[in-house]
């Protein structure tokens, strides 16, 4: 999803079409002080740097008055450039958003303030890139068509407007409009004489658009068309560049939040100061995510147990699944593995080869397998190393809370609090989302109740807050 060309498109379009759009309503007189043309461009530019954003936050960032921003955004919504979402939400809902923001922007500003908000309607906005692409193309097409039609005077239906009541007619109504008193067109409702619609671009400057001016008008139109093509060239170029690209799509607000929080979970594993708080945040608004993970873990565990109890090594566990903790819980299933592990402690390559020979000998020659092997070996080695470190630490300290301030073990300490028995289950925290699930499933047996408690605690705290 390449966003850069689309952002450029948005910026070009903003400057081409929305440069002189004022955020004020048209009925309000423009004074020099309140002339805020160009605000539209600023807002659009700001939106290109964001995904879904709460409008209050955007206003704060742009140092704009919220009302003014809303007016601009409403305008853009009508122009189909921006999608907005309004929802009534409690502090909890706001949490979901700020969690998502935290995941994308990695800043946690203003969270404390938002906790106090109770059931307010919040508006969010986001650029709709796919639609912008269409809108801009359509707009260009309409501009071109209007000019060309006027230039050729082709198939255009003349329009007439009543100067008094503003009612509009076109040439197809002509037969009804004709008045036999003076052979000209009269308004049906107020009987005023109609004038030919003069929205024609070129005729505006020339005046009443009488017949003698038509030739000059033509030249003017041709000029205008050429100028338009020249001045909008960057935009059309960008459009053609973007044409075959897939437009970035953030989806609806809910979908985006979900995705962002998943990402947040993925990045939770890195050891940082606000780690625990953020993981709790991601978990509570969308409890089902956590649940699904747990279920997957359960099935995995059961499967493993069954196979191992039969002591038939039909399915060999991949090396990275084998943990010290598993061996401890059911001894007999780990018999083979433990052996191999003991051997592999020194040379992990040997161990892995051995396993492959047991499990699937036929496809052992595949390059892919080779790569996988190497990968497993690396992971295994890292696990080993870490387990050793843990063991050493455990030996040193008592079974209760560790007292050293090593950042790499901060998470482990936390786990130990949860359940003392499964310290060994700890794995390397860097292996991504897949890894994450495994980590969870290994913890399930011992740590599940405590996890739940933690979640409950968190949610309660938020509702109070």
């Amino acid at each position: 999803m390449s966003i850069e060309p689309f952002n450029k498109l948005v910026k070009l379009a903003a400057r081409a079409f929305y440069d002189d759009i004022s955020a004020k309503g048209d009925n309000q007189p423009k004074t020099g002080r309140s002339d805020n043309r160009g605000i539209a461009v600023v807002v659009l530019d700001a939106l290109t740097r964001r995904q879904w954003v709460r409008e209050e936050d955007l206003a704060k960032d742009l140092k704009l008055h919220l009302k003014q921003l809303r007016r601009t955004l409403r305008f853009f919504e009508e122009e189909k450039l921006v999608t907005r979402d309004h929802r009534k939400e409690t502090a909890k809902g706001a949490k979901a958003y700020s969690a998502a923001v935290a995941a994308t922007a990695d800043n946690l500003t203003g969270r404390e303030g938002e906790e106090k908000i109770k059931l307010h309607t919040h508006s969010y906005c986001c650029l709709d890139y796919a639609q912008i692409h269409d809108v801009v193309r359509y707009r260009l097409q309409r501009m071109r068509k209007k000019l060309k039609d006027e230039l050729d005077n082709k198939n255009t239906v003349q329009e007439y407007v009543c100067p008094k009541c503003g009612k509009r007619y076109n040439a197809l109504d002509a037969i009804r409009l004709i008045s036999f008193e003076d052979d000209s067109f009269h308004c049906e409702s107020c009987n005023t004489e109609l004038v030919a619609e003069s929205d024609k671009i070129a005729s505006q400057e020339i005046g009443d658009g009488d017949d003698n001016a038509r030739r000059r008008r033509r030249e003017k139109l041709r000029d205008l068309l050429q100028k338009m093509e020249a001045e909008l060239k960057p935009l059309t170029d960008q459009l053609s560049r973007v044409k075959d690209l897939e437009a970035p799509d953030y989806g609806t607000l809910q979908a985006w939040e979900l995705r962002a929080s998943v990402v947040a979970r993925g990045s939770n594993s890195d050891p940082s100061g606000n780690d625990s708080s953020r993981s709790g945040q991601g978990g509570t608004p969308m409890p089902f995510l956590g649940e699904t993970k747990v279920e997957v873990a359960f099935s995995g565990v059961e499967e493993k147990g069954e196979i191992k109890s039969e002591s038939a090594p039909m399915k060999v566990l991949p090396p990275w699944m084998i943990k010290e903790g598993m061996n401890l819980t059911n001894e007999q299933r780990g018999a083979v593995k433990q052996e191999s592990k003991m051997e592999g402690a020194s040379a992990s390559m040997d161990l892995k080869d051995e396993k492959k020979s047991i499990g699937h000998e036929d496809d052992a020659k595949n390059l892919q397998d080779e790569y996988v092997k190497a990968y497993y070996a690396a992971i295994l080695q890292r696990q080993k190393e870490q387990e050793e470190v843990i063991k050493r630490e455990q030996d040193l300290s008592t079974n209760s809370i560790l007292t050293d301030v090593d950042p790499s073990t901060s998470r482990k300490r936390q786990r130990e609090d949860d359940g003392e028995g499964d310290v060994e289950l700890e794995d390397t925290p860097t292996a991504g989302i897949l890894w994450e699930t495994f980590k969870v499933d290994l913890n399930v047996e011992a740590a599940e109740p405590s996890d739940d408690e933690g979640d409950d605690d968190d949610s309660i705290v938020w509702e109070e807050g």
Binding site: N153, V157, Q158, A171, L172, A174, I178, S184, A196, D211
Partner: protein, 177 residues
């Protein structure tokens, strides 16, 4: 464009026509009713050319009228967008001019008149080229192209253009007479 089609209509006949020449009466009434009317679907009914069949009459309760379903062949005229027609100018004003091609009215607005023709007001309003060689006024015959139609249930109205090759005045009554 003209079409020769078969249409059907339920005719109500007053009991006083019942007799030896019921059928003739029925056809005469049909012609009187139908010819010259316009339907949005088929266009103007120009003429009835024949009767296909007359169904069984049904006497209506209370009135004594009899309803006959009649199938008849007729010629219809329906203008289409893009069609070239020859028409007679019926009125000229500064907005353009109206022309009639048989039953259909066509309006040509002034921006669909060639740029070199200009409106001359006066006793006989007209559009004239700068050298005065071509003049469009009432009763001129013009060839025009239909660029838009408005089809209602009971009427059809067109707008046309003479701003294209081979369109415009065919013969000018002012010059011939």
């Amino acid at each position: 464009m003209f079409f020769h089609i078969v249409l059907e209509r339920n005719m109500q006949l007053h009991p006083r026509h019942f007799g030896r020449d019921l059928r003739e009466k029925l056809v005469a009434k049909l012609m009187k009713d139908v010819e010259g009317t316009c339907s949005g679907r088929h266009g103007f009914v120009v003429a009835i050319t024949g009767i296909e069949n007359v169904g069984k009459g049904l006497i209506r309760d209370g009135t004594g009228f009899v309803t006959f379903p009649v199938k008849y062949q007729c010629v219809v005229f329906r203008p289409f967008k893009g069609e070239i027609l020859e028409a007679v100018v019926s009125m000229v004003n500064k907005m353009g001019f109206f022309a009639e091609a048989g039953p259909v009215q066509i309006f040509v607005s002034n921006h669909l008149i060639p740029d070199d023709m200009e409106f001359q007001s006066g006793d006989m309003p007209n559009y004239t080229t700068s050298d005065g060689s071509v003049k469009i006024q009432k009763d001129s015959e013009v060839r025009l192209k239909i660029i838009g139609t408005r089809v209602d249930a009971t009427e059809i109205f067109c707008i046309g253009t003479i701003k294209d090759d081979f369109l415009g005045v065919i013969s000018d009554p002012g010059t011939t007479s």
